[in-house]
């Protein structure tokens, strides 16, 4: 654990140097000592050591893939010129079953096409905005060293194309996104993706690689409200998403579209978070990440349960599959997973391994030794009533037990009610002004406007005629003697009398 803060401190120091080194410095002018100390700390040297000279050989057309697929490893021992051609497409796609949304995309998918290059490569970037687009767009790649990350050189009107070139100086997994105003809206509509800049030696080989990106979406309609749903700026500003999704639609990587692997394989996930607002607590249920290249950087942490992926950030994680089954990808901020869509599935086939995971072994009756609760207070009150020496205290205790079983569903266990819907019984001026209202309203219900403690209520309380006279007397006595109410007592005989006289404002019963 102690190593982590040191890594961060080292990274911070390196990035401070990086900033000053950016404006025109190069290998030739850099003091030799810098390099030596960087190597001594086990650092890669960052952008200062990322220039491997001019590109060699013929230009290469980058292989772009749609999520959840990842282009093959670069497998090259020299820097090259890599041509990337990316199209901006605005299109309507399902965001959930029966729900459509107008996405703005890089390459026609959310997230956009995965780009894979090698550190030191010279990338010639072509951005084409489809003629039928409504909006101008550009691209900011977090893997670019230079103002705006390419955004200022790629502002592209509908039906235009732009070109700029950069050298990929830093290895790592980087988010790219549209940076045209309003930036948040462009990102909220799906304009993000990942670019992997491999270190010169490449990444350790694995059996399966997948591309997953989280994003939050804001629609005017509720979650799963059918039809074409427009973007809701208010919700976006409030950071109150309707959907939180992996790969741009609910079900993008579940069911038939689940990610697949087999027991015995090594899996590497490239996971980004487009945001625009939320930070992801990325977790795979039933797996432990053997390695996480946290924040998409060079170092890895081992044996990780959940890794934090910031908005506009990414991480790589690797794990070995031991046991077959469905592994669920979630944002462990769980209401996002189960109420807003942030779910994915990784399905592993292969033989069971009972040594590692047995499955259900025992399901048998477990009998605790807890004493049974009972309605003793009610029984005591009933007994006392029959012998004629029922006390107020007994009535209150019995009334409390009855109150919890019926009245508390609306008026709450603490008598506070629900503002504007169910009037409070606690400290109620309505009760103080007319204590007989308690048994009367209990028996006959109430409708029409009333004001309690300064708040107006206009809802219906149904008659509770199913309660016996005893029960109403005890509940009423409990209410009168609780929560700062004036006290007093209601007897069974009084209740019987009240039951006979239905008031004007009684509500409908059955």
């Amino acid at each position: 654990m102690k190593r982590v803060p040191r890594f961060i401190a080292a990274t911070l120091a390196a990035s401070a140097l990086l900033l000053s080194a950016c404006d025109g410095d190069n290998d030739a002018t850099r003091p030799a000592g810098d390099q030596a100390s960087a190597e001594a700390d086990g650092e890669t040297g960052g952008s200062r050591k990322g220039d491997f000279g001019p590109p060699q050989g013929d230009p290469i057309n980058a292989v772009l893939t749609s999520p959840p697929h990842v282009p093959p490893p670069v497998n090259r021992n020299h820097p090259a010129k890599v041509v990337v051609e990316l199209d901006v497409v605005e299109k309507v796609m399902p965001i959930s079953e029966g729900v459509d949304y107008t996405f703005w995309t890089f390459g026609g998918t959310v997230p956009g096409s995965f780009i894979r290059v090698r550190q030191g490569d010279t990338v010639e970037f072509h951005l084409r905005n489809m003629p039928d687009s409504k909006m101008p767009h550009n691209i900011d790649l977090h893997g670019v060293t230079g103002p705006g990350g390419g955004a200022s050189s790629s502002f592209t009107a509908p039906g235009h194309k732009t070109q700029f070139t950069f050298k990929a100086l830093n290895a790592g997994l980087y988010v790219y996104h549209c940076a045209t105003a309003p930036v948040g809206m462009h990102v909220a509509n799906g304009m993000y993706g990942l670019i992997l800049v491999e270190p010169p030696e490449g990444l350790p080989p694995v059996d399966k690689e997948y591309y997953v990106m989280q994003g939050d979406f804001y629609t005017t309609g509720k979650y799963r409200e059918k039809g074409l749903q427009p973007f809701d700026m208010e919700k976006a500003i409030d950071e109150n998403p309707t959907y939180v999704l992996f790969n741009g639609s609910e079900g993008a990587i579940t069911g038939d579209k689940a990610l697949t692997t087999s027991v015995g394989e090594n899996v590497r996930l490239y996971v980004g978070n487009g945001g625009p607002n939320l930070v992801s607590s990325f977790h795979v249920i039933g797996e432990i990440f053997d390695k996480v290249w946290y924040e998409g950087g060079t170092h890895f942490q081992e044996n990780v349960q959940t890794t934090l992926i910031p908005a506009g950030g990414a991480a790589m994680m690797e794990f070995h599959m031991e046991v077959p089954g469905s592994y669920v990808l979630v944002d462990h901020s769980l209401f996002r997973a189960f109420n807003k869509g942030a779910l994915g599935i990784l399905k592993a086939d292969g033989p069971e391994n009972k040594e590692i995971y047995s499955g259900l072994e025992v399901d048998e009756v477990y009998i605790g030794d807890r004493a049974q609760a009972n309605m003793e207070a009610v029984a005591v009150a009933a007994e006392a009533a029959s012998t004629g020496d029922l006390t107020v205290d007994q009535q209150v205790k019995a009334g409390e037990a009855l109150f919890m079983g019926t009245c508390s569903t609306c008026h709450q266990a603490n008598g506070q009610g629900m503002a504007g819907v169910f009037p409070p019984l606690a400290n109620s001026d309505y009760i103080a002004n007319d204590p007989t209202s308690v048994p009367r309203v209990t028996l006959h219900g109430l409708q029409g406007k009333i004001t309690v403690n300064g708040t107006e209520y206009n809802s219906i309380m149904p008659p509770m005629a199913q309660l016996t006279d005893d029960e109403v007397a005890n509940i009423s006595t409990f209410v009168l003697n609780s929560w700062g109410n004036p006290g007093g007592r209601v007897t069974k005989a009084e209740v019987a009398e009240i039951r006979k006289n239905k008031p004007e404002n009684a509500s409908e019963g059955h």
Binding site: S326, V328, I345, A373, N374, T406, T409
Partner: protein, 264 residues
Amino acid sequence: MLPKATDPGLRAAAALLAAVVSTAAVAADKGYAELPGGSFRSTLAYEDISADLRVRPFAMMKRPVTNGEFLAFVQANPQWRRDRVPTVMAEPRYLSHWDGPTELGEASAGQPVVQVSWFAASAYCEAQGARLPTWTEWEYAAAADETRRDARKDPVWRERILAWYSRPSNAALPRAGLQTPNVYGVQDLHGLVWEWTDDFSSLLVDADNRNQGDPDNARFCGAGALSMDDRDNYAVLMRVAMLSSLGAEDTTGNLGFRCVKDLP
């Protein structure tokens, strides 16, 4: 615990029980409310049914079956006594809250009966010429509040229902019939006990409910996979999860039942 015939509480309970049994005999069908049925949209998404479900008219017990009523059944059908029932049809906790096989003791006659297995609940209903409700019938009846047939979209109503789920079940159960009837005249569908349904064992919700996005179709191929269509409706989700966690011989301290009858 041995039954104590001299216990005054026991005698009081027995007297009360006698009263319940005699009125129940008179009001046999008065104990049922009639529900018209019709088109109903379940909160559950059935893989093989996309349209609304048709619910045929039926009559449902206004209240869950009580200890007193169940005791009368056990006395008339001694094979359902807790000391005689086959263990495959009722686990050891069956009716364990009673003092003896035919003595209620501290359990009051008016409380809903709990610690009953599905087999015992089915047998009880059969003895009344009735049956357990299907999940759909139960859900249809329970969608109503005091004034509306379908209150499920009302957030206030949902919150009321959920209040019960948020309370621990360590307090004694109130008597059946304490709560206000819903629009059909049925009481206690919420806020009192869980209730068995006839088809509880076809509610195949994945044991790990986080797998909702990916039902394991191989397991569900016979019944059609279920998933939650309305995930805001936590009350239903919890009911289904509860029922699907049980076997037909299982009992719990807050699971009871009520019966229904077909209407012509």
